[in-house]
Symmetry: C2
Subunit: 569 residues, 2 copies
């Protein structure tokens, strides 16, 4: 059942129980962890925004106004749609941009009401195709989502940084190993976005970053300088027979060149929805033979160039095209098909290539020594290439890109006027004219953050919570419940810790000490005080869960010792 | 838009905004009120249960196991059903008995794990036919719901009282005007339930209660002694011609008797679902001419006597039956129709009647001087009558029933084994045998409670929150922002109050004092400190929102004064 160590430990330790695919119940210790995490988030956001709460059910009309109903329900199928008893459609919200604008447009009349920043902590729903890894990818989860409205993009940029700073403080206080990375804005849209990722082998995202700390980006978005192509062995433009070489590797072998000398031309098919009508368009992407297409960059590029909502973008079905096209030998100037003209795109690195080889538009033939404009018209150029670890960063040629896996826990966006414009939100400026405010949105996964911490911190004995969100701060374990002195010392210490505002738990179950130690380790309470034979001499053992470090302390000094270790004043 | 004063004030004061039918956004002040209310509820429940959190989306299979899927989706249509991308049905939970058992059955192995009491605070959904009165009846709302599991019904009864005591403390701390009342268990089921109602003219429920405080019940459930029928004027059983008298009033006029001398026989039609098959059954209810049928009592009585899920119960369609039956002249022994035998029921008060008049099963004819068993077989007897204000209570004939309107804010149930049995939850007893635990559930409407308080407390100037959940405890209003002494005194006092842990708000907007006073009244902050010219002499005015009482206090004593009034140590 559990596909990651964190999930396994959360299940074994009784923090969560699965109720259905991607649906989990939070049991008492997890509820405590989440409450403490939410309190920490509220504390750090207090300076940045006011708390509100939006309904999870929302009229479909709102989502139609923003143009997202079709994209979310039909294209991505990521949004649950509900029909009420009167036959009206409702969205079960995966995000709240529409609701935030609908409320903000009633609260904001003039420039004096701006900026407005609001946030909520609550449930979200996504009809995930493949829920996985316990709380990391579920169909129902808790998020903190904030929305801000501004008169100017400079003011938006300031709030974007204020929110980013709050995220940095939150992740740092949690002791997380994290990176902020440039990111793709995806279906949310907007002009710029930044992800907050916690590094973990079970993460679904790849982060490319430099060691100097000046660059980090999701691989979906990352840019780099491609390794320069070595000088081309071809100097003359000519046609060569290359039998049985439909792949880059086989063609290079026959032509005695490297993949970096080749332009490959990949056929895609786009499907898009305009109103109720579905259309398709063939796409031809030219890129260097040693590079691969970044699906997200291509999606965004194509999405901006079709009329309507892009609903699918796939490498063309070879069976369908095999009879009509010279697949494996296509040139950038392949004539348009009967289905309509190609959208022709060329990757930036491919656009810089000289004396390249490419297909000859005829099976078993290639062209060599080709140059753009001279032999083939250069298609529209865009960054379509997947950046890779080992390539050189764009800000400093001495900094190669490094790679790590990450769990996206936060994502913040400068949206611009996409939603405020679509939903007709305006404000009166100082001179009385009407303007559309610019908008930002800021998401932080609460259940995912807790789960990512479980992944980062768990060891083979169980969970290891940071004290700031642990279900309890200290556990007092009585070694021998038949020893009245041990029991009495534990109860006294428990009362003292509680009185000092420390969240202590007393394990006075009549079980063997070993069982109790294992349970405490599994639960991940940061400090364990063991009350054993030492209490006769007024002493007890304190053990730190994370490092396993053990110290013997006088009972009389225990409260102060624990307080110091928890960093409390 | 606003159909009650509380709703009107919540909208005007910027606490809530409507986003769709029965769907509201909570704005910052309402979010503060709800957080404080939730904290108060958590505090009072801490002794009774542990907090958990269940998913709102739940596999339909769980609801089919309990037998409620059809009743909630098809019969009452009160539950939103969602279909995921794989075509599987999910419930959008209106309540969580199924989820609670599904989790509890994994947590409970033996009698040593019992009792188990858990609660959550979260969203619920109901596909209401007619949302109304702002937050009082919505399609999405916040509830506290608790579930408990026990080895014995005595232990369940104890927890039932512990939960009831917590509700009583919560409502009392909020200063609510409330009643605990015997209630119908409705679709939740179970052997006994109690409602907590806040009295309000906008309430949808009627409470019948006695002045001695010993009896209170929802009118749906209330019992009473009917006024005794006066001695019958009929002494001989005979047939009388009564042309054109299909109603009780017209028949009494012709027969020269009172409605209390008559047995009326009312035809109902029940529709019920067994598996996928819908069946109907005609029902004949005999009751005294001066009484009316209690729809809830009848539903429950019929529900227990049909095989399957009762989905509809309506007075028979007169057009359908007018040709085949002597409507208005029916006797208790009306022959069974071709559609199947009647379910025949007689109300308790009607069963005690002697020498009554009733229909003769022939249009324009009645029987008089009739007696049960002698002239008509007595049908199955049940309490089917609507109790009414003015009737005598069953516990003390000197206590007449009084009537009030109430808003149901809480409802607690002793469920028995309905859900634990259906979902196969068992525990091992001390002797190793397997037993089904008995269960209780305990609901408290959080958003509804806040809205009911708004209804009870609002006056013509706005909201009046009790200090314990007010969005702020004190508002400091600067009369003249151009007077530096006033501004300075306000800022100093604000800092002092904050330092003392009092949630103060400073109104330093450059507006006329009258506008600021009106806003403070509208928002309903319990205490207002007015910093005006008096600050020159070191004094300020304190005004209580509820009573309007005003006092002048030395600024130096203000913190202590406010603290005393808030009841803080």
């Amino acid at each position: 059942m559990a596909d990651t160590r964190g999930t396994e430990m959360l299940l074994r330790a009784g923090f969560i129980r699965q109720l259905g695919s991607g649906l989990y119940a939070m049991l008492p210790p997890m509820t405590r962890v989440l409450h403490r995490l939410e309190a920490l988030i509220r504390h750090e956001l207090e300076v940045a925004a006011q708390e509100v709460s939006f309904p999870l059910l929302q009229p479909a009309a709102l989502w139609r106004q923003s143009g997202r109903w079709d994209a979310y329900t039909r294209a991505e199928q990521i949004m649950f749609a509900v029909t009420d008893r009167a036959g009206r459609e409702l969205a079960l919200a995966p995000t709240h941009e529409e609701a935030a604008v609908a409320v903000a447009r009633e609260l904001v009349g003039s420039y004096r009401d701006l900026p407005l920043s609001i946030y909520q902590i609550g449930r979200k729903f996504r009809d995930e195709l493949r829920p996985r890894a316990g709380l990391l990818r579920t169909r129902e989860f808790v998020m903190k989502d904030a929305y801000s409205f501004h008169a100017t993009s400079e003011d938006l940029a300031r709030t974007f940084e204020v929110m980013g700073d709050a995220y940095a403080r939150i992740l740092t206080r949690l002791g997380a190993d994290w990176r902020a990375a440039q990111a793709d804005s995806g279906m949310i849209g907007g002009t710029g976005s930044r992800e907050y990722l916690m590094l973990s082998d079970v993460g679904e995202d790849e982060v490319l970053y430099t060691a100097d700390g000046l660059y980090a980006a999701n691989a979906e978005q990352a840019v780099s300088h491609a390794h320069p192509a070595p000088a081309s062995p071809f100097t003359t433009f000519e046609r060569r027979q290359t039998p049985g070489t439909p792949t880059v590797a086989s063609a290079c072998a026959v032509l005695d060149c490297e993949p970096a000398h080749m332009i490959k031309n990949v056929l895609y098919e786009a499907e898009y929805l305009n109103g109720d009508q579905t259309s398709t368009r063939p796409i031809l992407v030219s890129l260097r033979g040693d590079h691969s297409v970044n699906a997200v960059k291509l999606w965004n590029t194509v999405s901006a160039r079709v009329e309507g909502t892009l609903t699918a973008l796939e490498v063309a079905d070879t069976e369908k095209w095999a009879t009509s096209l010279p697949l494996g030998y296509i040139a950038p100037d392949l004539p348009d098909s009967a289905d309509g003209p190609f959208l022709r795109l060329c990757d930036e690195a491919a656009a810089g290539l000289r004396n390249f080889t490419t297909g000859a538009n005829e099976t078993d033939w290639h062209m060599v020594g080709a140059n753009w404009d001279q032999h083939f018209p250069l298609p529209e150029v865009a960054d379509l290439r997947q950046a890779q670890a080992g390539e050189v960063s764009t800000h400093d040629p001495a900094q190669p890109l490094l790679s790590a896996r990450g769990i996206e826990v936060g994502h913040i966006f400068q949206l611009g006027t996409r939603y405020t414009g679509a939903l007709g939100m305006t404000y009166a400026t100082a001179d009385g004219s009407s303007q559309t405010p610019t908008m930002g949105c800021y998401g932080l996964g609460v259940t995912r953050l807790a789960a990512a911490l479980a992944e980062q911190c768990a060891d083979e004995r169980g969970l290891v919570w940071p004290a700031v969100i642990a279900p309890h701060e200290v556990i007092l374990t009585v070694v021998d419940m038949k020893d009245a002195a041990q029991v009495e010392a534990a109860e006294t210490l428990y009362a003292e810790l509680r009185a000092a505002g420390i969240d202590a738990l007393l394990d006075d179950r009549p079980l063997r000490a070993g069982v109790k130690f294992a349970d405490a380790d599994l639960t991940g309470i940061p400090w364990r005080v063991t009350l054993g034979r030492g209490v006769a001499g007024g002493r007890a053992e304190v053990r730190e869960r994370r490092g396993g470090e053990v110290q013997e302390i006088n009972l009389a000094e225990m409260v102060q010792y624990v307080r110091d270790r928890l960093g409390q004043p």
